[in-house]
Amino acid sequence: MDKIVEQMTRMVAQRTSRRGFLARLGRLVAGGLIIPLLPVNRVLSQAVAQAAESAPGATPVPEGLEAMVKHGNPNDDTACDYWKYCAIDGYLCSCCGGGSHDCPPGASPSPTSWVGTCRHPGDGKDYIISYRDCCGKTPCGRCLCTNTKGEMPLYRTQLDSDLIWCFGAPTMVYHCSTAEIVGVK
């Protein structure tokens, strides 16, 4: 777990200006509360334990979008049930000219993200997934998925999927969502 946190910290550090990152970190720590930044290991173990008991609930999809949502195939990265998407919330970049961990042309990967844990159907291992938004264009509008496994309210910021996770990207305009493997839990 420590390794993963270290890896994630390195990733973020590499992708953001160090001064900006330190400033943000400093502000989070300022009140003696570092919880929003490092709830990952504690909360995730809970989340996985609870999520393992039952399937994630179906959440509503606005009218007209239902037909574009595919379910049922854990190996199809344009389906909501693709294994890495167990907690994805948004339009799949895979349906928008990008991939499961690539932005469509002209959209920028956000250096910040929220995180979840998904079990790979093949090797049975639990992987830590970084849900990184692609930013800089209006919402793609295709393949909306609202999976909520392990998703927490806003006060657990790192585990909230309703936020526009474009912090550090050129604009906060949300385009689509990706799922990037960070490591094995």
Binding site: R27, A55, E63, L65, T112, G141, T148, Y155, L163
Partner: protein, 379 residues
């Protein structure tokens, strides 16, 4: 000659008759902009976040008694809606990029007249407001109408304070590890913190932080998190949790005080997997004497599933009073204020608003075509 006279006479007669007919026709329309009467408790303010282009947020104002659309307000990207306590002004707190999808970011509190719905002015605020699928309590107003409070998340958290009387940004209050603005007094707001505690901030008359005190945690977020959109009745906030626990938190003091939680479910309910879920999942009436929960049957992590029923709970006796089955599954609910409250339920999937009488839960009607409606506001 006679023929000519006859033709002329016929022409005159025709003109006379024609003009007579013209006189009997509809008058030309006089085009104008209508105005709204004073807002009423049964007016629902429905927030539509257009999914494809959330750069413009809409508020539809619907008179639920007459099933009539009264008008629309516009705001910026993922805007929050706030109403002045005297109901004379509306505010849309929004974000704008100079080229819509790129360019320079500006955040502003836009001020709209409640009668004409015209834009009256704005206060530009630091471009760091929380950008999220719209939620309650991301912006709030003090009960005296003086200060507007806007949640910032960069992801460091703070609150922007706007003096609405002076129409200017006053400053920022740091709220590390805590989010949202639960306004409970003229110079007081509270925020929800990551460890399950509440931070209470008292302001002075210039809008600066005077005191800032954090309560003890009143729930364990890693075991059973409370939803982040509590309902506020006066100085009390009512929270519902993923597993159906209810917590009443008194926000009136220097430090928030929580009463012990109690479950909205009995053993049979738990066995049948009932739990709260949706977006705006809790409502109140009679100053918090009754609370209303949007309920569905589902397993773990179904906290955003549409609700099939609304459960009415007595907060003094900590018991359920009734269950109201909904005609259409709902994502958000609200109970209107005033002497004759009604239940309003919103379906995101069906893009519609339904109303039910209280306390009997009788279905009253539906209003269709509300875009992607997430939230209901009201007086």
């Amino acid at each position: 000659m006679h023929k000519r006279l006859a033709i002329a006479a016929s022409a005159i007669l025709f003109l006379f008759v024609a003009s007579g007919v013209a006189r009997a026709q509809l008058r030309p329309d006089q085009m104008t902009s209508l105005r709204l009467a004073a807002p009423q408790p049964h007016w629902a303010y429905v927030l539509d976040m257009p999914n494809a282009v959330p750069q413009v947020t809409k508020i539809y104002i619907v008179d639920t008694d007459r099933q009539k659309m009264l008008g629309q307000l516009n705001g910026g990207y993922l805007a929050s809606f706030v109403m002045s306590p005297d109901h004379r002004e509306y505010y849309m707190v929004g974000t704008f990029y100079s080229r819509v999808w790129h360019g320079t970011r500006t955040d502003a509190v836009e001020i709209l007249d409640a009668s004409t719905l015209n834009f009256k002015g704005e206060v530009v605020i630091p471009p760091k407001r929380l950008l999220i699928v719209p939620k309650n309590n991301s912006a709030g107003i003090t009960p005296d109408g003086r200060f507007m409070l806007v949640e910032n998340l960069t992801p460091a958290t703070s609150v922007s304070v706007i003096d609405l009387k002076a129409r200017r940004f006053v400053g920022e209050i740091e709220t590390p590890g805590c989010v949202q603005v639960l306004v409970s007094g003229p110079r007081r707001f509270s925020s929800m913190c990551a460890d399950g505690s509440i931070l209470t901030v008292h302001l002075d008359d210039s809008g600066k932080a005077k005191t800032r005190k954090q309560s003890k945690p009143f729930f364990d977020p890693s075991k059973d998190p409370v939803f982040d959109q509590p309902v506020i009745a006066g100085t009390d906030a009512y929270f519902d949790s993923y597993h159906g626990m209810i917590y009443k938190v008194d926000l009136s003091g220097d430090v928030a005080k929580a009463e012990p939680g109690w479950s909205a479910l009995d053993d049979a309910d738990r066995k049948a997997s009932w739990r709260p879920g949706g977006w705006q999942t809790i409502a109140e009436s009679a100053g918090g004497a009754k609370i209303y929960l949007l309920m569905h049957q589902g397993g773990e992590w179904t906290h955003k599933q549409d609700g099939k029923e609304v459960w009415v709970l007595d907060t003094a006796k900590k018991t359920r009073i009734s269950r109201i089955p909904l005609k259409t599954d709902a994502y958000s609910i609200r109970v209107s204020s005033g002497a004759n409250p009604i239940l309003e339920s919103l379906s995101l999937v069906q893009s519609q608003l339904e109303t039910y009488s209280l306390p009997d839960g009788k279905y009253l009607g539906v209003y269709h075509g509300l875009g992607a409606p997430f939230l209901i506001y009201g007086l």
